[in-house]
Symmetry: C2
Subunit: 322 residues, 2 copies
């Protein structure tokens, strides 16, 4: 009889699901539906799971990547800001009751890193850091082949590192966080402020240019646009130096839209990193990489999460029966 | 036949050694000698080990706590600033060659946390942070019962976190590190600067009052002395918020001389921590504690390190022989 893991990637726009055979990175089947509809997001997720459920064969378990704070131990989604109604939601229990198989939740950045570690840019590494730089900055860490979660799954909020006291406001309400300085939102805010202050730029006609428009202007040599990426890269390098001092990883993997601007942000980041490290030994054998799995990282990672956790539970329950 | 672990604690002033029976926290015997003498520190350490070596019974292994950067995997001491000549020193190999038993090295903060976790303030916890605040700020982390080391043992340099760009100079040569702002050295530098600028204080007669003198003045109500601890506590709380966002531990253990000033630094630290956390959930079930093992933490921890590593090596070699 065929056996499968069912993986789900919950996003603000789309719900995606896929079936994987154990130890194969290629999905047997994939489906997606919009997150918002006349049913609740939870009901729509259940519809999608029921829809992709194999007509023959066994589902060993379900892994789910959630865009927010989720506790893998209790299976509760504390808060997923982009999913209406997902606050203190016992999602694991609800899905287990409905489908009768083990369910495991993970934060989306953690899940993406699991995917990249097993099947993407991080293969063969044991100590990994992951940063996703887009509207916000998310992060994850694998230490000696174990995902860092913390006591209640609230760890690795890598974007929420104060590095400039009284600096710009962060989405979380605090000031001077790495996310407020080096994310797409941070870059766009800085440019809007400078334009409002009368700094000359080819972007001057636009009230709130976005990161892509700023990147284009920077490629065309616009001084303000270039300085916005230099500033973001400077703080990113400073934050990264902090993280290397803490974690001493062998690879740092970058994902997210802003990281696709490439050298615009990475050149000033590397210069700042070298300036801020207390010892060049932190760079010895250190690899920098971009994500390899792209849009599929969340699905692949949810499958890795399910396979890892559920095979562990099965071997533990076998042991305890002896 | 009796079996022992031999634990050593290397300090700038003293070399200490103790014999432990497996699974007992109480040393069977202890000895100490000054670190500096006519022999090199390594030779003196070997003399001490030979001196405490049991006349009958077996030594299963030696654990050593080192005040500096040491790689537990290669057994090399990269740098121990307070021990003359300890730079890129293959200490593990030299001691194994001399004594013919397995030797394990650990950084002193890591070793102290291991001791507190198994036999002190951290018993029963799985996710622990440790800060030692004295002339510098050292740190360590245990995550799901595993010490965080990093790829080359260079992790958890907790004091070297930039939180005030262009802030005061740190001992490592960088600026604005937590250590430069909240260590005893940071507090003393701040007071000396303010005195030089003419700020009134009962400390005004002294050119460079130390942390103990500043604490006494603060207890007597001296405004400058109080503000020095408030400032240190403020930055310590800001740094701690960063670390809770990253690690989400269930206990934070403090050690070192400055932490013995108690509420002088901890009251402003807690206020700043609450102000800088992005969610009060990081404080749910979080315990704060002071070290319990005092001066013996380094010895007890070196013994825990040896027992842990060497029993792991023995079980692996047994497995590989099958």
């Amino acid at each position: 009889m065929n056996a499968y893991y069912l993986a789900c990637d919950v996003g603000g726009t789309q719900l995606r699901a896929a079936l994987y055979a154990p130890n194969l990175a290629q999905a047997v089947q994939q489906k997606r539906i919009p997150t918002v509809g006349k049913e609740s997001a939870t009901e729509r997720l259940m519809m999608l799971i029921a829809d992709i459920w194999p007509s023959e064969g066994q589902v060993l378990g379900i892994g789910i990547g959630v865009p927010g704070m989720a506790d893998p131990e209790t299976g509760i989604v504390y808060k997923a800001p982009n999913i209406a109604g997902w606050e203190n939601l016992p999602l694991q229990q609800q899905l287990q009751d409905r489908f009768g198989v083990p369910v495991v939740l993970g934060n989306d950045a953690n899940v993406a890193l699991l995917g990249e570690w097993r099947y993407g840019a991080g293969r063969g590494h044991h100590n990994l850091l992951y940063f996703t730089i887009s509207t916000g900055i998310g992060g994850a860490a694998i230490i000696e082949d174990q995902l860092l979660l913390g006591e209640h799954g609230l760890g690795t909020e890598m974007g929420h590192l104060t590095i400039l006291p009284d600096g710009p406001l962060c989405g979380c309400g605090q000031r001077g966080h790495l996310e407020a300085l080096a994310s797409g939102t941070g870059i766009a805010h800085y440019v809007a402020e400078q334009l409002a202050a009368g700094v000359p730029s080819q972007l001057a006609g636009q009230a709130c240019p976005n990161t892509r428009q700023i990147a284009e202007a920077a490629h065309q040599g616009d001084a303000l646009a270039r300085s916005a990426f230099e500033r973001a890269g400077f703080y990113l390098g400073m934050g990264l130096a902090n993280y290397l001092h803490i974690f001493n990883p062998s690879i740092v993997i970058f994902g997210g839209g802003v990281s696709q601007t490439g050298e615009l942000i990475f050149a000033p980041m590397r210069a700042s990193l070298e300036k801020h490290l207390m010892s060049p030994q932190y760079l010895a054998d250190l690899e920098f990489a971009q994500v390899q799995l792209g849009d599929d990282a969340g699905l692949v990672g949810a499958y890795v999460l399910a396979q890892q956790q559920i095979s562990r539970q099965r071997s533990q329950s076998r042991l305890s029966q002896k």
